[in-house]
């Protein structure tokens, strides 16, 4: 499967700004699908609202572009309606962790059979760069021009704690690890979550003296520490630091398998 079998050449170039990390994750996604010989027809992609959430519109797959924050809720319905379908949610940090945070928590708790890729660019990109729960301390956004005073939300840690089968965080400066994490998620049942810290040069970099996307990549590379060095709750998050690595890799029974055992699908 070539890149242009998976993405719609006629819709390229995409709308993402020069140097935006979303396109990098799209490469890793395609490569992971190619290396594991996935058939796009067996997948559906679900997204909410935001820059990241535009991505499924460029893929040659069935997709649902839903309400802001509700991607996981729609995806849950889709999976239970057609359990044979592989469902992946592809959306932003504002969409999944902020307005959609409650859906995330309970889908992870149920070990719902979904793959979720959350692109964490640290702000609300599409609406002009407001603070999000994943903004690092001290950094400037449109709504925190003096710097952010909040502590940061550790989304991947949260999902791991809730019992999901897979949870990891990498950054776009570790693009090969992003690909490997997606490959690890693909065959797994249960809730699989990947957070990719990514650069938004336009709305984040520009306000933090990192307009050059390479400066943001360098920043992410230099401020990453592996979870094996600091532990699961190693950094709650006084300084700008990205804990990267795999936080959970379990084989608990997924929601669909439990429903199937209970005879739920025969009752229709």
């Amino acid at each position: 499967m070539s890149f242009w079998d998976f993405f719609r050449r006629e819709r390229w170039p995409h709308i993402f700004c020069p140097g935006c990390g979303i396109g990098m994750v799209l490469n890793a996604l395609w490569k992971a699908f190619e290396e594991t010989e996935q058939e796009p027809e067996k997948w559906a992609f679900v997204s909410g609202i935001g820059c990241t959430a535009r991505a499924p519109a460029y893929m040659r797959v069935d997709s649902l572009h839903t309400l802001h924050g509700r991607a996981i809720a729609f995806a849950t319905g889709l999976k239970l309606g057609n359990p044979e379908l592989n469902v992946m949610v592809f959306s932003g940090d504002g969409d999944i962790a902020s307005i959609g945070g409650n859906h995330l928590i309970h889908a992870a708790r149920r070990n719902m059979d979904l793959k979720v890729i959350m692109i964490n660019n640290g702000i609300y990109g599409m609406t002009g760069g407001q603070l999000s729960p994943t903004t690092l301390p001290g950094l400037r956004t449109t709504t925190t021009p003096m710097g952010n005073y909040d502590y940061t939300m550790g989304t991947a840690e949260l999902v791991a704690h809730l019992g999901a089968n897979f949870s990891a965080r990498w950054t776009t400066a570790h693009i090969v690890m992003v690909k490997e994490a997606i490959k690890r998620m693909i065959p797994k049942e249960g809730f699989c979550f990947l957070e990719v810290v990514s650069q938004c040069p336009t709305n984040f970099g520009r306000r933090n003296r990192m307009e050059d996307p390479r400066k943001m990549l360098q920043f992410m590379k230099e401020h990453s520490v592996h979870v094996s060095r600091v532990g699961q709750l190693g950094a709650y998050f006084e300084e700008p630091v990205f804990v990267v690595g795999t936080f959970a890799d379990r084989d608990r029974k997924g929601y669909v398998a439990r429903l199937r055992e209970a005879g739920y699908f025969e009752s229709f």
Binding site: L26, K31, I175
Partner: protein
């Protein structure tokens, strides 16, 4: 194999220049509003040079526009 850049797709972010461990690319970032096209200045320094496979795919995976692909030596 070595990388080539599709001019019609490249948005001039220079991530390829940053990511390549061998310094194959050359380019200068001026601003988000536009920089000159980066060039594949030293294709023979590429890890994939002289091979038919591509063990290193960093620049292809890192180009947000998917403007980079690998072609056999001397191709364009």
């Amino acid at each position: 194999m070595h990388p080539v850049i599709d001019e019609s797709l490249c948005k001039r972010c220079m991530i390829c220049v940053w990511v390549c461990p061998k310094g194959v690319f050359e380019g200068e970032f001026l601003s988000l509003l536009g920089s000159p096209l980066p060039e594949v200045a030293r294709p023979s320094d590429c890890i994939n040079w002289g091979r038919s496979d591509t063990p290193c795919e960093l620049c292809m995976l890192s180009c947000p526009e998917h403007a980079i692909e690998y072609v056999p030596e001397g191709g364009s």
